[in-house]
């Protein structure tokens, strides 16, 4: 196989991101949407860490940044879940089809 | 008489009626009498004002600045041509109001209000001397007409009303474009130009390129052609007529079609002689198709009112033929046709109306033997049908004669230049002959209709119909009296507008000669003239 370079990691991150994207767009269960959002965020993390490793190993800026993304995604997941619970209580379901008030 | 703002009174009096009517108590007899008296007064006033002003040599004109910065002013005036049509309008409105006694029952107040608004809009169109005011009234007329058709109409009234409005709006879009184009060209020539007819009519003479003239001509012409109606744009008329109640279709056929032809004559043919000369072959060609084709279609109609509607489309084809002849006789014929067709088609629709109020059916197959049962209606139907047939000594004949003589003797064009350099070898003479065949076809469907509806044995179903009521008889008698009077003494009518119309046709003889001279032997006249570049200097 050829040398594993930055390009591989970025393609991997891209693939992961699109799988996450597809999950967000197509899944019926709200929780699965949350999961897929996490996936997308992790893809970004991979990218950052890969850049850090392949471009300038001494300056760990990339990794610091991925930590921040970590915090943000954690916050986001928790708030997302809270909203989901509230939605579930009022709508008695998590089926994305049911939340269709966003129209004229 | 001069200090009286004559024209504004005529235009806005009906509007005042329209405002008064809703406040009257909702009692049928009172509303009918009020409207009759109102429209009667309007008619008398219009005749008196005409005699007082233009006839006495002082043409009435009023001016009031309205939007100076836009160059739009309330500018109304009337020469004999407008007066003839104004009087025709007020007369037909009186007839329509009288005809409404028997045929309109529900919501009378709104009905009369709408009729009077419609009248003021139409009078506005005929009297406007400012292109924007003209366009304003032209559009205003749509709303009452739409309501009148869609509320009191027959089963498919919404379809017909919407179709009517859409067709006219489609046309007025082009008209607005042409109006603005013309205005800005005039403005570029001299910055103080306003929308007034006087300013805009001179534009084409100041060396405007023929191409632009043709475009402006066509812009205006489309709106008028749809209103005329001209063949490709005519399908709204039969639907509107079939669905509209009798008095409304009397007004629709009597006056609204004249707005189209009036506009054509005064605006298109009046201001763009060069474009008119270039386009005359096509106008005459479509006019002939208009006559012959709709005569054929009319023959195959099963619905009596549709047959009459198509017959009025066919008769308006004469106006096109007359105008396309580009000479004084043709123009006079066209205007005469406007007047006589107004009376005749109003009469025919009145006949259909009287039959409809009794039998509640318009299918010719279900009718028969009315001659015996309704002798008075039969007498008037015979008289008016003969007039529409073009029988001499009745209204239709002088118009038809003038159009045929004018078209046949005109040297407007020998060949019609067609696409790709080919030429249709149809001179105006051959087209007139074909239109004459159309007239014979026209005679066929009218006579066949008379035979099937009035003659033949009495149907048991209709044996107990009661004859015409006094109000219907009065309307039919008034219309027939005028038709016979116009037929016996046509000079009374034509001498009124003869001077103006001949003046309008005056530049054309020179224009035609110039067109023929400009085209080298064998070359097709239109293409060489159709240059979009500015004409070099004043060769006009």
């Amino acid at each position: 196989m050829f040398e594993v370079g930055l390009y591989h990691y970025i393609t991997l991150a891209a693939v992961l991101f699109s799988i996450g994207l597809y999950g967000v767009l197509s899944s019926r269960n709200a929780i699965r949407v949350l999961m897929c959002i996490e996936l997308m965020l992790n893809a970004v993390n991979i990218n950052l860490v890969a850049f850090n490793n392949f471009i300038n190993i001494e300056d760990l800026g990339g990794q610091v940044f991925s930590i921040f993304i970590l915090t943000v995604s954690a916050a986001e997941a928790s708030v997302g879940l809270a909203i989901l619970i509230a939605l579930y209580r009022s709508r008695k379901s998590v089926d994305m089809e049911r939340f269709n008030l966003l129209k004229w | 008489m001069e200090q009286l703002p004559v024209l504004s009174i005529l235009i806005f009096l009906p509007l005042i009626y329209a405002l008064i009517v809703p406040f009257l108590p909702n009692e049928k007899r009172l509303l009918h009498t009020f409207s009759t008296v109102g429209s009667g007064l309007l008619f008398v006033l219009s005749v008196l004002f005409w005699l007082g002003t233009t006839k006495a040599g002082r043409p009435a004109a009023e001016f009031m600045t309205w939007l100076p910065q836009l160059g739009i002013h309330y500018n109304v005036g009337a020469d004999n041509l407008s007066w003839v049509l104004v009087i025709l309008t007020t007369f037909l409105v009186l007839m329509a109001v009288l005809a409404s006694y028997t045929s309109i029952e529900k919501r009378l107040k709104l009905y009369y209000a709408m009729i009077f608004t419609l009248t003021s809009a139409i009078l506005g169109v005929f009297l406007a001397r400012d292109l924007f005011v003209f366009f304003l009234f032209w559009e205003l007329e749509l709303i009452p007409m739409y309501l009148l058709i869609s509320i009191w109409g027959g089963p498919r009234r919404e379809y017909a009303a919407i179709k009517f409005v859409l067709y006219t709006l489609f046309g007025s879009v082009f008209m607005l474009a042409a109006i603005l184009g013309l205005f800005f060209i005039a403005r570029s020539a001299d910055p103080s130009a306003t929308f007034a007819f006087a300013d805009l009519s001179g534009v084409s003479a100041t060396g405007l390129a023929v191409g632009t003239q043709v475009l402006l001509f066509l812009g205006l012409f489309t709106a008028f052609a749809i209103k005329l109606p001209m063949v490709p744009f005519h399908t709204w008329l039969p639907d509107a007529h079939v669905e509209a109640p009798t008095p409304i279709s009397m007004l629709l056929a009597g006056i609204l079609l004249k707005m189209g032809s009036y506009g054509m004559l005064r605006l298109c043919f009046g201001w763009f002689p060069e474009a008119a000369t270039v386009l005359a072959p096509y106008l005459v060609l479509i006019g002939t198709i208009n006559i012959v084709y709709t005569a054929g279609v009319a023959l195959a109609q099963a619905d009596l009112k549709k047959l009459i509607a198509y017959s009025s489309v066919s008769h308006m084809g004469f106006v096109l033929l007359g105008l396309g002849a580009l000479n004084a006789v043709g123009f006079n014929g066209a205007v005469f046709q406007m007047v006589s067709h107004g009376l005749i088609s109003a009469g025919l629709f009145m006949i259909v109306g009287t039959l409809y109020t009794r039998t509640h059916t318009r299918q010719i197959a279900e009718m028969g033997g009315f001659g015996k049962v309704l002798p008075t209606v039969y007498f008037f139907a015979l008289l008016i049908a003969m007039a529409s047939l073009g029988l001499p000594l009745l209204g239709g004949f002088p118009a038809e004669t003038l159009v045929f003589y004018g078209a046949f003797l005109s040297n407007a064009f020998k060949v019609i230049p067609w696409f790709g350099g080919t030429v249709l070898t149809l001179s105006i003479q051959t087209l007139t002959i074909i239109s004459a065949i159309g007239v014979v076809l026209g005679a066929a469907y009218l006579l066949w209709m008379l035979m099937r509806v009035f003659m033949g044995p009495v149907f048991p179903k209709w044996s107990d119909l009661k004859d015409a009521t006094p109000s219907e008889v009065f309307v039919l008698a008034a219309l027939s009296f005028l038709i016979v009077a116009v037929g016996l003494f046509p000079n009374l009518v034509s001498s009124q507008f003869e001077r103006e119309v001949t003046a309008m046709a005056q530049p054309y003889s020179k224009m035609i000669a110039e067109l023929h001279k400009a085209t080298p032997k064998g070359q097709i006249p239109v293409i060489s003239m159709m240059s979009f570049s500015k004409n070099e200097g004043g060769t006009r």
Binding site: V4, Y7, Y9, I10, L12, L16, F17, S18, I19, G20, L21, Y22, G23, L25, S26, S27, N29, I31, R32, L34, M35, C36, E38, N42, N45, I46, V49, N52, N53, I55, I57, L60, G61, Q63, V64, I67, L70, T71, V72, S73, A74, A75, A77, S78, V79, L81, A82, I83, L84, I85, A86, Y88, R89, S90, K92, S93, D95, E97, R98, N100 | -
Partner: protein
Amino acid sequence: MDETTFAGLYQFGFWVFAATMVAGALGVVFHRSIVYSALMLLITFLSIAAVFVLLNAPFIAAAQVLVYAVGLTIVLIFGIMLTGDKPFVDPVGQERPNRFWLMPAVASTIFLGFLIWALLYPTMGFSGINGIFVSLMDPATNPATLPSVQAISTDGGITVIGQLLFSRYLIPFEVASILLLLAMMGAILLSKRTFPEEEGETLATVETIEPYAPQVNIEGNTPSLSSSHSEVEEKETLGVH
């Protein structure tokens, strides 16, 4: 173990973890049951952590395992438990296939294509804002630095990260902390349930909320569920009787 076997191991490791990550991701998206997809998510997180290790970021890998693999998955499992993990049952009985898959598939493939195109493009000498990419991608300019044994042996860069966090990235650090605080308050507020009267009621007496099997009528939305009277319904179900 010497340099070459390590390099070989590195290569091999990358492909293994990449494969498990992608498989896990696909599992999360396509698995019928939500619980299994949660587990798949766990696997994906772990394989991502492994990749981080390969990328000389041991601290991040640890953080990843700690926050995501453990924390988040547990929270999600809680979410699943709270909202019922039975797959949606269509009134007809069989699980309704996910009707809307075409457009999302198209969108994500387009996005994937776009991303890869954005990557490939620089290698084809595209100038402009991607100038840096060009130099970056060229293996000649910067060879892939393998995670040198020595780097791993030291503290894995934690000290350097710590110094950075409190020197250059101090403000983002503080903002992140405030963000976390807010998120916590928000989550608590949103998921707080109003109990009619506090006393005499224990968690046990509160019936669990039956998942509302959606009766889908012709228009596609359940008639009775307009938001206006959902509170009333809620009161009934809770109804202290």
